[in-house]
Symmetry: C2
Subunit: 134 residues, 2 copies
DNA sequence: CCATACTGTAACTCTATTTATTACAGTACA
DNA sequence: TGTACTGTAATAAATAGAGTTACAGTATGG
């Protein structure tokens, strides 16, 4: 992953946490300074992971699916990210003793490293994050 | 970051750890299955971080700058990576209360998450990693 | 002192990924 | 029924990363 989706998702959730009622994508897009269609793509991901609910039609928009203190930042991470951050590998030479084994060992390592990061994110709730805004 | 540099660097260091003497970039490139010029770019980075030494001219190549049990995987990470993995952000609207503050809060969060990952990597030496190869 | 075998690095191209944009059908409300 | 939304597909633009080529510079050995 080398994308802005975690930032976008966190921004959306923060706005939803501090705003009453249902919020349209155009409003969220204005704060994040991106296109409303991008916001709706992000909301689609967050919805499938149970973090927001959306409502179609006039007066529609998004709202948190549960209280901000029940949403962990690791939930946000999992919503936008399915592979370890340190996840890229080469296609090494299978005729080399090291080359033929290294990807298995790297995957194991990447998983350990990713879990350390996820564990840290799981100690912070959206509510904790939102508290920083004054 | 979304690149293969950590994998390349770790592969190079593993090969150097299991090989006697100075190893030319063409040999390393053969195991990793990449271009020798890419290997030399990677070696250049590792050299400036004190992890390898290189020798020019005929019979030249690379060698570990210190024993494998003195090289931490976090050293490798630092060599190839200067910004947090979760590091990307938008350019939010400065006229919005959330938008104008969020990047500062995200940077703080990214740093914490990155440190958790680095701490994990700092518990593993190159020697530990190399032991997995049979 | 010259042929050889390397490194170091710049310039460039190619490719993959991510982001942005546009468009429009579908839906809900008043 | 008009209006204000969502959902999503298609596509374009931008960016970053990887790969390639080229060649000057350097060390070694005969």
């Amino acid at each position: 992953m080398d994308n802005v989706q975690f930032a976008t998702a966190t921004h959306i959730l923060t706005l939803l946490a501090v705003t009453e009622g249902v919020v349209p994508s155009a409003y969220l897009a204005g704060s994040i300074n991106i296109n409303p269609a991008m916001v709706r793509k992000a909301l689609s991901t967050l919805r499938t992971h149970g973090l927001v609910e959306t409502k179609e039609g006039k007066g529609g928009g998004a709202i948190l699916a549960k209280p901000a203190d029940k949403i962990l930042l690791s939930d946000v991470y999992h919503a936008v990210n399915s592979t370890p951050l340190l996840g890229k590998a080469n296609r090494p030479n299978p005729d080399c003793l090291v080359g033929k084994q290294i990807n298995d060992h790297l995957i194991e390592l990447y998983t350990q490293a990713d879990n350390a990061l996820i564990n840290k994110l799981s100690t912070i709730t959206l509510a904790d994050f939102v508290k920083k805004f004054k």
